[in-house]
């Protein structure tokens, strides 16, 4: 049985990685997960300079989901390259680093710094963080700026470049076409949905940042739809699908919609072993249903158009 995939040049032994921001820098989950069994590890959003993040409270639980407004707290690219990557490089698992910036040049500089760092296999360009004032969503809501960031990152690095798209746009396919046209090797979707919660007893917003990003099972149908639409429009562009994946069956929805690989995010908080449960569950499904190569499943549900 072959569960290996190629996500825009990133060779993964199985299609499962972690969603950025939910798995720290990987090592936090070592007591629960044999990290070398993951297809890839996607780590916390990294910026040029260290960032303190937003004021607490930073999370709120919502029905079958959660809001977060962490605000890209991270130690900065220098420490990630010098201190964290050496500890991950020996695992033999491709590491995808999520990168963010305030300006196009910031993205390019972070990308340049990570080029050639041992263990780093790819970059996930975060143009869709809903929780920071600058950098993030304003790059991800306009196709021209999104393409500009993509081109700048591609020019700055030889690494595989995945561009992470926001669901908080009117025309997701136009965004996907713009960044794919600008050279993105793969697309990841979806980032969190912009949301908020109000504490009725205290009559004020729950989050320190007022608004936050919604994740968890509540967003899964939105995410599956996003993957479906983008895969339909751009069948040759590999997609990393994510949004509320808790189990293998959830992951298979994304794969059948057209995702080459999947990421477990909020699910890690609920079940720290969720990633490995998904890996094992996909193998079980393939074996039960007689599939020998995971590629047979990618986009398989697209055969149905609603007319047949």
């Amino acid at each position: 049985m072959n569960t290996g995939v190629n996500l825009g040049g990133i060779v993964m032994k199985n299609p499962v990685t972690t969603a950025s921001g939910t798995f720290g820098f990987g090592l936090e989950y070592q007591p629960y997960v044999a990290l070398q069994r993951l297809g890839a590890i996607t780590v916390k959003g990294t910026t040029l300079k260290p960032r303190l993040g937003n004021s607490p409270p930073r999370i709120a639980e919502t029905p079958s989901g959660m809001l977060n407004a962490i605000g890209l707290q991270n130690p900065g690219v220098e420490r990630v390259a010098e201190e964290i990557m050496p500890r991950l490089a020996g695992l033999g698992v491709p590491v995808i680093i999520n990168i963010a910036g305030d300006t196009v040049e910031d993205y390019a500089q972070v990308a340049r710094r990570l080029d050639g760092v041992p263990g780093v296999a790819g970059l996930e360009v975060n143009i869709s963080c809903p929780n920071v004032k600058k950098g993030g969503i304003q790059f991800g809501s306009d196709p021209h700026t999104a393409a500009e960031v993509t081109r700048a990152v591609k020019a700055a690095t030889g690494l595989s470049v995945i561009v992470k798209l926001s669901p908080n746009v009117t025309d997701l396919v136009a965004m996907a076409e713009a960044v794919a046209g600008a050279g993105a090797d793969a697309l990841s979707m979806i980032n969190t949905l912009l949301g908020m919660a109000i504490d009725v007893d205290r009559r004020r917003p729950v989050l320190g940042n007022i608004t936050g990003g919604l994740s968890g099972p509540a967003v899964r149908p939105v995410a599956v739809r996003a993957v479906w639409q983008v895969h339909r429009a751009l069948p040759l562009t590999p997609i990393l699908g994510m949004g509320g994946i808790m189990t293998a069956r959830d992951a298979l929805e994304f794969i059948l919609a057209g995702a080459t690989a999947v990421a477990v995010g909020t699910g890690n908080f609920v079940n720290p072993r969720a990633t490995l449960d998904v890996v094992e569950g996909i193998e079980q499904y393939m074996s039960n249903h007689g599939f020998t190569d995971i590629s047979e499943l990618v986009g398989l549900a697209q055969r149905y158009t609603g007319e047949n």
């Binding site: 939910t22 720290g24 930073r58 977060n68 707290q73 908080f269 609920v270 720290p272």
Partner: protein, 270 residues
């Protein structure tokens, strides 16, 4: 080392109105646990409630491998947990940094002659019982004054249990239905008149705030256990931040789940 365990429930009772004690069998977890550490418990089978609930360890019997948690029902997660009478619960733990006095000589205390004060407010008394168990185990009982506060007498927790272990206990209630009428920190102010070497505390934020101010003014070191909204419990999601002043006076954040939940007095800005 923290682990993921399915622990069999061996008992469950409502110890005070809305306050539950659940006991379960988790020998490997019991062996490694330190007072002040917490367990991250899945409170439900589906996706709502979604996140685990961080609950401190109330007591440990290393011999039998039994562990107890004491918690207040405040929402649907804790309500679900209080409804478990048997079966298994899904637990990650032990997690976090507990009271450091037992992990070596960090606190600079030998237990031959220090005078210690343990202060618990409301449900904050829950983890302090485990601390008292450990203090008793190392023969440190006569040197300890336990101060417990609650809104009303039937909400006073760990009072009898602390007495059974032989500790001196003073209590305060808001309505005067038990012990001193007023705040437990008023009792602390009296205790601080005598030589005091170290204070351990857990309780509501206003209590911890005034306690930290009092200890700073008195020049007495101590440790407080704080509560924060938490998602992952392992330092990955960066949700449960507490403000700290680092050297140079720069404000930054620590994480209650891995840097705490127990912090030295003065370490975090409450």
């Amino acid at each position: 080392m923290s682990q993921l365990v399915q622990a069999e429930i061996t008992g469950c009772r409502e110890t005070a109105p809305g306050i539950w004690v659940t006991e379960f069998l988790a020998p490997s977890l019991a062996r490694g646990a330190m007072p002040g550490q917490f367990l991250h418990i899945r409170c439900g089978e589906g996706s709502d409630p979604l996140l685990r609930r961080p609950i401190s360890i109330h007591s440990v019997d290393r011999q039998s491998g039994r562990v107890k948690i004491m918690f207040q029902v405040v929402g649907k997660g804790t309500a679900w947990l209080a409804g478990r009478r048997d079966g298994f619960i899904d637990i990650m733990g032990p997690l976090g940094r507990g009271f450091t006095v037992f992990t070596g000589e960090q606190a600079g205390l030998d237990c031959s002659n220090p005078r210690l004060v343990v202060v618990g407010g409301g449900i904050g008394a829950a983890p302090l019982y485990f601390l008292l168990q450990e203090l008793a185990r190392v023969g440190c009982v006569q040197q300890v004054m336990v101060l417990l506060g609650a809104r009303t007498a039937n909400q006073l927790l760990i009072l009898d249990a602390a007495k059974v272990l032989g500790f001196n206990v003073r209590v305060a209630t808001d309505d005067g239905s038990g012990g001193y009428r007023g705040l437990v920190t008023d009792l602390l102010a009296e205790e601080l008149q005598q030589k005091t070497d170290f204070v351990f505390a857990c309780g509501p934020l206003p209590m911890l705030k005034s306690l930290c101010d009092m200890l700073r003014d008195a020049g007495v070191p101590g440790e407080v256990s704080v509560e924060e909204r938490m998602a992952c419990g392992v330092g990955a999601c960066l949700s449960c931040v507490c403000r700290v002043k680092d050297t140079g006076g720069i404000e930054t954040y620590r994480h209650a789940c891995v840097d705490g939940p127990v912090f030295a007095v003065g370490e975090v800005l409450l």
